[in-house]
């Protein structure tokens, strides 16, 4: 197969299956679920296989896939191609996006079984994957932006999937609007970028070649606006509030979109624009701080949440914070690698949560879900694996990726960030194990429905991934050769830290986390302490951020608008326009004698005017000759 074809197929398979499902859904009323399932799995499965092929070629042969679909704009020297490109970064992204989405598809087949909007769900799902591939594989920022908007749109559709409950629709709206704010930043950044370097062509390579032509302050502005976009999509402070609410969607949606793929788009984008961030150091540091604060903040909130999915949502935000910290200190590979492992274990966590929700008749509160260990042993093992991974206990994969981030943070000399990150990672262990201990280690017993094997197989596969994925990027310390780093070959800051310090850091980290786990065990396992926690606490209420937003932005704006509408607008603008209109009407009455509606007369006036012009020009011409 030709390389263009591979890439195009990789992109188009989900789109084709999505359109087929849409068509079937619209045209035929009663159609068997298996057809939808087959189409959806075929689409995502094909693209997963192709993605594996692409990353294989990219990894071993350093092959860069290119595909020019068509030229979108061709104005003079400037043209924008709709083109796809899978360089190392893109291939790396599809390496985990495509298989994870395929696994979640398999999972969703079981999860959504019997839903009345089964077809619509998979259509959206495949459409989402299509846009995600578009985002990742676009060879210029415009296609990336299209994909970016597309995932926003489909995520809106999926969050408010059960739209008969108005609450879900609000959650979708919230996600959509906050994402719009971020997108506005992204779009502005693209515009400025276009004004500055657009004349040289607008693919990523062209932009990065000519980036030196931009003056530093503009570059800072571009960098910060791009990061605003990333903030929105990756749920960082202050644009994070949509993520917890987005859990209103079905659990596979949370697993796919709000854990593995879409929220990582921000990280991917910052990594993609790495040359820009390498040049504007202040903004990078700012990103780092935002990431650190988000990580800690989310972790703190998560420690007092009771809804499984909310806990996981906050943990996602927290992990994204870790990634941004790494990005801010130019440790791109570490960030991306953490994203890689995060995709597996977070998807696994969400899927286990989903399995629990399905098995225990749609309960989500951990205070009600107690003593599940014997009724759902497989889920327990899965969840435990994922929790150990996320808590960064060696030798699970997240240990390697997170440790790499910590080492970089330490080496960069920003100890304040390092300490924030350290605390956040302790909190991570705390809230995750809190959830585990509350749910699985207690004296109660809850009857469970049997989980479908379609749910469990992907989970088992993912658990294997989340255990062993770390091997791909073993640090030098463990005689690894940093395979991913060499593959991606990003402009990382070199790690200047001795092995001794690294080992010490690891030990401290691990011991502290184990201590936290022990503390948590003491506190929550086989006790009812969870029931004693008060719900009026500032942490439990998420620091009142939603309310503050509501007060500061929504209410005040509304008051202001009402004031303007009643006082100023009426008196100043309406009156003046009325006077203007009246004078026009008066003047119009005068002219209506000439403007009698007869087209012949208009033609006559035109002719007379034309004639004067002609005679005038002719006289001028003759005089000049």
């Amino acid at each position: 197969m030709k390389e263009e074809m591979t890439l195009n197929l990789l992109l188009l398979c989900p789109l084709i299956s999505a359109s087929f499902i849409f068509l079937l859904n619209i045209v035929f009323k009663n159609i068997r679920q298996s057809i939808y399932s087959f189409l959806a799995l075929a689409g995502s499965g094909t693209s997963a296989i192709l993605a594996l092929y692409v990353s294989y070629e990219s990894y071993f042969n350093h092959k860069i896939f290119n595909s020019l679909l068509f030229t979108w704009l061709d104005i003079g020297d400037f043209n924008i191609n709709i083109a796809l490109k899978a360089d190392a970064l893109g291939a790396f992204m599809v390496l985990f996006v495509a298989p994870v989405s395929f696994l979640i598809h398999v999972y969703a087949v079981a999860y959504m079984d019997g839903d009345k909007s089964y077809g619509r769900f998979f259509a959206y799902f495949n459409l989402f994957i299509f846009f995600m591939f578009m985002l990742v594989l676009g060879s210029n920022p415009i296609i990336m932006f299209l994909g970016w908007e597309g995932v926003g749109l489909t995520s809106y559709a999926l969050i408010s999937f059960y739209f008969h409950d108005i609450q879900n629709t609000y959650a979708g709206n919230k996600a959509f609007i906050l994402n719009r704010i971020g997108d506005f930043g992204f779009l502005s950044a693209l515009m400025i970028l276009f004004v500055e370097v657009g004349s040289y062509g607008f693919s990523f390579t062209d932009i990065f070649l000519h980036i030196n032509n931009i003056n530093p302050s503009t570059l800072d502005l571009i960098a910060i606006l791009l990061f605003v976009g990333a903030m929105g999509k990756s749920a960082q402070i202050p644009l994070y509030v949509w993520l917890p609410d987005a859990m209103a969607g079905p659990t596979p949606v949370s697993a796919l979109i709000h854990a593995a793929t879409m929220v990582t788009a921000g990280v991917y984008m910052v990594a993609r624009f790495a040359p820009i961030y390498n040049m504007s150091l202040d903004v990078s540091l700012f990103i780092s701080y935002i990431g650190a604060i988000s990580a800690l903040f989310a972790a703190v909130i998560a420690s007092r949440q009771y809804d499984i999915k909310k806990i996981l949502a906050y943990s996602t935000m927290s992990q994204l914070g870790f990634m941004f910290m790494a990005l801010g200190i130019h440790a791109y590979t570490s960030a991306l690698f953490h994203m890689f492992t995060h995709a597996f274990f977070k998807a696994l966590l969400f899927m286990s949560a989903g399995a629990i929700i399905v098995a225990f008749s749609h309960k989500q509160d951990i205070r009600e879900l107690r003593g599940l260990r014997y009724s759902a042993p497989v889920i327990f093992i899965m969840m435990l694996t994922a929790t150990i991974t996320i808590s960064a206990i060696p030798p699970f994969s997240a240990f390697i990726s997170k440790d790499s981030i910590m080492s970089f943070l330490f080496a960069s000399g920003h100890y304040d960030i390092f300490i924030l990150a350290f605390i956040a990672s302790l909190f991570t262990a705390y809230y995750m194990f809190r959830m585990i201990f509350v749910m699985f280690f207690s004296n109660y017993f809850l009857e469970a429905k049997k989980s479908s094997w379609f749910m469990l197989y992907p989970m088992i596969i993912l658990s294997l991934f989340s255990i062993f994925a770390g091997l791909l990027n073993l640090p030098e310390l463990f005689t690894g050769n940093l395979n991913i780093s060499t593959w991606l070959n990003l402009e990382d800051k070199p790690l200047e830290i001795s092995h001794t310090v690294e080992i010490i850091l690891m030990l401290i980290n691990t011991i502290a986390i184990l201590a936290v786990i022990f503390y948590t065990y003491k506190k929550y396992a086989y006790t009812d302490k969870i029931l004693d926690e008060s719900e009026v606490n500032i942490i439990a209420n998420k620091f009142y951020i939603d309310e503050i937003y509501d007060y500061v932005f929504v209410k005040s704006l509304k008051h202001f608008a009402v004031y303007i509408d009643t006082k100023i607008s009426y008196k100043l603008i309406d009156r003046s326009i009325n006077i203007l209109a009246l004078s026009y009407a008066k003047a119009g009455r005068l002219f209506s004698y000439i403007e009698n509606g007869n087209i012949r007369f208009y033609a006559l006036y035109m002719l007379v005017g034309l004639m004067f012009g002609f005679v005038y020009l002719y006289v001028l011409l003759r005089l000049s000759l």
Binding site: L604, L607, V608, M611, F614, V615, Y618
Partner: protein
């Protein structure tokens, strides 16, 4: 020489029939004299070696458009009392002719003064259907497609316009 004589004859026919067209009171007279002028313009096209345009002019203008007009004139069954009362027609015609005269004079003067050289070397197959077709489908594809859409729109529009409103 032969061409010049034919041209002068055709020009006279065209001008006279066009003048009759704008002067005649009844629309059927106008339409038929317009047909004469269309056919003679088509003959002028043939004189200019544009044989395809010649046949297109006859098929579309004389064959389709004009027959449509005459069909409509018959279809509407226009009686004399339906025609507009044009008592000042001659005055109007005089007035407009006086206005238009400088325009005509200036343009003719400019053309006579200009130094357009007559190019007698025509490429082979000039004006044939193949030549025009190749130009149409290479350089002018977009206008061609647009015109096809325009025709479709006109078709739909005319059908929906002429449909009687249902009570």
């Amino acid at each position: 020489m032969q061409n010049e004589i034919i041209f002068i004859l055709l020009a006279i026919i065209t001008i006279v029939s066009s003048s009759v067209m704008i002067y005649a009171h009844r629309p059927i007279d106008s339409a038929l004299s317009f047909m004469v002028s269309l056919v003679s313009i088509a003959a002028l096209f043939a004189l200019l070696n544009a044989s395809f345009l010649f046949i297109v002019q006859i098929i579309i203008y004389a064959g389709a458009i004009l027959s449509l007009i005459i069909f409509i004139i018959m279809f509407l069954n226009i009686k004399d009392e339906n025609l507009p009362d044009e008592t000042h027609k001659n005055k109007w015609l005089m007035f407009t002719s006086i206005i238009i005269l400088p325009f005509t004079y200036i343009l003719i003067d400019l053309i006579l003064r200009s130094d357009i050289q007559t190019n007698s070397k025509l490429p082979e197959n000039f004006g044939s259907i193949k030549d025009v077709g190749l130009t149409l489908f290479s350089k002018w594809v977009l206008p061609f497609e647009l015109v096809s859409i325009l025709l479709l729109v006109a078709l739909i529009g005319s059908v929906s316009l002429a449909k009687r409103e249902e009570k």
